[in-house]
């Protein structure tokens, strides 16, 4: 039986067939009365806009692109998709942070046909629980993605659940003018980095800008140290809860970090990343490990003065080829209203036209599709794309590589505790391990 479309139809349906004989008329009158009592004046407001879900010409998308530029990209994408396929995209924008915090509810409730999400563990987590739709056949039609991106889009069962769209790398940023003035060279090893930092101190600079008021920036430092010291596979296993946090490998990461901490900007817990980035911009600090979005804090005429290098090698056996490069993209819900349209949209998003639109609209991002026309990239973007292209493995950033609850309730306070008191590494790792056990077994 189809869903009733009008109020009268609905009320008529409420009458059980056993009483639908003699009493039907009176019952209906009563029901209509009750309905109008509750409904008058409100129906217009509560009905909301027309859903049109069963219409074959629409597809819905849940979007976390609430910032003006990404929102604009998505609007242009959906307009272009409409002209090419005739299918209209109904975009449901929820602000980035709320969307992220509510994702579990959202996917278990009644999600839109397609939605924005992140690659890596966060994608696999929902794929494994059957909350995301298999789009392996869409991947069969996609081209221009490197193997690292395909790996990041693949669930534990070997099927693809994700179409990558944009990404940005984490690296150590600096101002060319400052480095030229003092004659600094890009360090190739941890020792060189330490020597350079000490030189910066003597030159009156804060060697490494640092901030962790919001909790997440320090994760970048942990990630890169772990990737350099223990390698990609250990990092991923550690994030997935398979390795122990009390192992010597993890302790070595914290030991190394504790050695570097005096070279970082002090009192990081009271500083936001914007303020740390501004200290770099104001030439008060020498370098800053952050994502490409650090460029947002620089004026337009200073953009060409920004440069970066990937965090130097610590263990020659592991090298310096892995890095954090969070990938944003799109997924399909487990039961979309129109699977054909949803897949058509995802295929379009993974294609070269969509990537070209993004390059033109958003200068702060890098597109995942390598066949896109990147002549519009700035020098910084080009270099960032090369860096990620040459990476052997791509991690997604700590809070995307592990369970969200573990990242926010355990790791954030633990890292902040470490920054406050870097001495008690044993106590810290024990505490993380204990909490990890209770979270990952729940």
């Amino acid at each position: 039986m189809s869903r009733p479309r009008t109020q009268a139809e609905y009320l008529a349906r409420l009458v059980p067939s056993s009483v639908a004989g003699v009493n039907r008329r009176t019952l209906l009158a009563g029901a209509a009365g009750a309905g109008s009592l509750l409904g008058t004046g409100l129906l217009a407001g509560c009905g909301g806009s027309d859903s049109g879900g069963s219409d074959a010409k629409t597809v819905s998308m849940g979007s976390n692109a609430s910032d003006p530029t990404p929102k604009d990209v998505l609007a242009k994408l959906s307009a272009a998709f409409k002209t090419s396929s005739g299918v209209e995209v109904a975009i449901n924008t929820v602000d980035h942070n709320t969307f992220q915090e509510n994702i579990n509810n959202y996917l278990q409730g009644k999600p839109d046909d397609t939605f924005t999400w992140f690659a890596g563990y966060r994608m696999r987590f929902f794929a494994e629980r059957g909350l995301a739709g298999d789009i392996s056949d869409v991947w069969g039609k996609l081209s221009g993605f490197s193997d690292a991106f395909k790996k990041a889009s693949t669930g534990d069962d070997g099927k693809q659940y994700f179409v990558p769209f944009s990404y940005y790398p984490w690296a150590v940023f600096y101002r060319k003018s400052v480095w030229q003035q003092h004659g600094y060279q890009v360090p190739k090893s941890l020792d060189e980095l330490t020597t350079l930092s000490n030189q910066m101190k003597r030159d009156g600079l804060v060697p490494i800008a640092f901030a962790d008021k919001d909790g997440w920036p320090a994760m970048g430092t942990f990630d890169i140290l772990n990737l350099r010291i223990n390698g990609y596979q250990f990092h991923i296993d550690l994030m997935a809860g398979k390795e122990s946090w009390t192992s010597d490998k993890v302790k070595k990461v914290f030991d190394t970090w504790a050695g570097l901490l005096p070279l970082h900007q002090p009192d990081a817990l009271g500083r936001t990343w914007q303020e740390a980035a501004q200290s770099l911009q104001q030439k008060k600090s020498g370098m800053y490990l952050l994502g490409l979005f650090v460029a947002q804090q620089f004026n337009a005429d200073e953009q060409d003065d920004i440069d970066f290098f990937t965090f130097p090698e610590i263990d020659p056996a592991i090298g310096a080829k892995a890095l954090d490069a969070p990938i944003d993209g799109y997924m399909m819900a487990r039961k979309p209203k129109s699977e054909a349209n949803a897949k058509k949209l995802l295929e379009y998003i993974g294609g070269v036209d969509a990537a070209n639109i993004a390059v033109k609209t958003d200068p702060g991002t890098l597109v995942a599709n390598t066949t896109a026309d990147t002549s519009g990239y700035s020098a910084l973007q080009k270099k960032a794309a090369e860096l990620v292209g040459s990476a052997t493995e791509i991690a997604q950033f700590l809070d995307r590589d592990t369970r969200p609850d573990f990242a926010s309730t355990v790791i954030i306070p633990a890292l902040q505790q470490f920054i406050k008191d870097p001495k008690d590494i044993d106590g810290l790792t024990n505490s993380i391990e204990n909490q990890k056990k209770s979270i990952f077994t729940s």
């Binding site: 479309r5 909301g48 709320t98 409730g109």
Partner: protein, 303 residues
């Protein structure tokens, strides 16, 4: 009393006991009151001041500075967070929820106050106890329930209680009824019983006793409760965030999050948004202030 002293001739004033010097207790009291008042006003004034300054200025000079005045934050906040639409959403939720809460609560309160049934105390206890229940503890069962209850398409385009205004109204009514029953039943108990006896002699039905005798007398209490409930339901943020999935249907409090960026949050802009969101509660309070204060004192002194 104060007007009396003012119109009295000076000679008469001298005849009265000389005005007492402030005792140490009074000085302490006033210092304490002033401190509390500043403590309460400080965050409000601070956010109003912040909202009127440009981010560039406060980013370079810090918040403890003076200058950079602008009203751009208000314009930007109104536009980026689409407050016009979201204010309307808040109205769709708040108005029916408050009316329904007051109606249902007054019905229960009337029964508890008017009749001497054994169940009354238990009933009152039940409603009051529900106030103590942490709402968040019910999140998961309610969420599951809401995704299982179908609604016809003309009531909500989600076709579920989940992601519909109906669901939010229902939640708010359910959680606010307890407090209103508690207040209203106490208020109704204070009404003289003779009124009901007289009404019965005149042949008034129970409904009439409720609607035409009790309710008009409860107006101060209802007005006071309406003020409180509008503020509470309007400010409600948690359920609207959890039980809604369509960004366009969020009430204004939840849509305030639209002002936060992915990597970057302009605190001045958020302050401007918060001030805008706070205005309706202030308007309601000042409109109903007279009733509100009278309702409180009437309830307290038990006329």
């Amino acid at each position: 009393m104060s007007t009396g002293t003012l119109t009295r001739p000076p000679a008469a004033q001298d005849a009265r006991p000389a005005r007492r010097r402030p005792t140490p207790q009074r000085v302490v009291l006033h210092v304490f009151l002033a401190a509390v008042a500043i403590g309460w006003l400080f965050p409000v004034i601070w956010s109003v001041l912040t909202s009127l300054r440009s981010y560039e200025y406060t980013a370079t000079h810090g918040y403890v500075s003076f200058g950079g005045w602008t009203i751009d934050n208000y314009v930007t906040a109104w536009q980026t967070a689409e407050f016009g639409k979201h204010f309307l959403n808040s109205v769709y939720i708040t108005v029916p929820a408050v009316l329904l809460t007051l109606f249902l609560a007054s019905c229960v309160a009337f029964v508890i106050a008017r009749f001497n049934w054994k169940i009354n105390l238990v009933l009152l206890g039940l409603f009051t106890a529900a106030n103590l229940l942490p709402q968040q503890a019910l999140l998961i069962p309610l969420f599951r329930l809401f995704t299982q209850v179908p609604l016809p398409a003309f009531m909500s385009d989600s076709e579920l209680l989940y992601d519909s205004y109906w669901g939010l109204i229902l939640i708010n009514v359910a959680f606010q009824c307890g407090f209103c029953v508690f207040v209203l039943s106490n208020y109704m108990k204070a009404l003289p019983r003779d009124l009901y006896e007289a009404a019965m002699v005149d042949g008034a039905s129970i409904w009439r006793q409720y609607w035409q005798v009790t309710m008009p007398l409860c107006r101060p209490a209802l007005a006071a409760l309406a003020t409180l409930e509008v503020t509470w339901i309007y400010n409600e943020f948690f359920w609207a965030t959890v039980l809604m999935r369509t960004g366009d249907k969020f009430p204004v409090t939840s849509s305030l999050n639209n002002l936060r960026g992915e990597f970057f949050t302009d605190n001045n802009l958020v302050s401007a948004g918060s001030v805008l969101v706070a205005i309706p509660t202030l308007v309601i309070f000042f409109l109903l202030q007279r009733h509100f204060v009278r309702g409180l004192t009437l309830g307290a002194s038990k006329g």
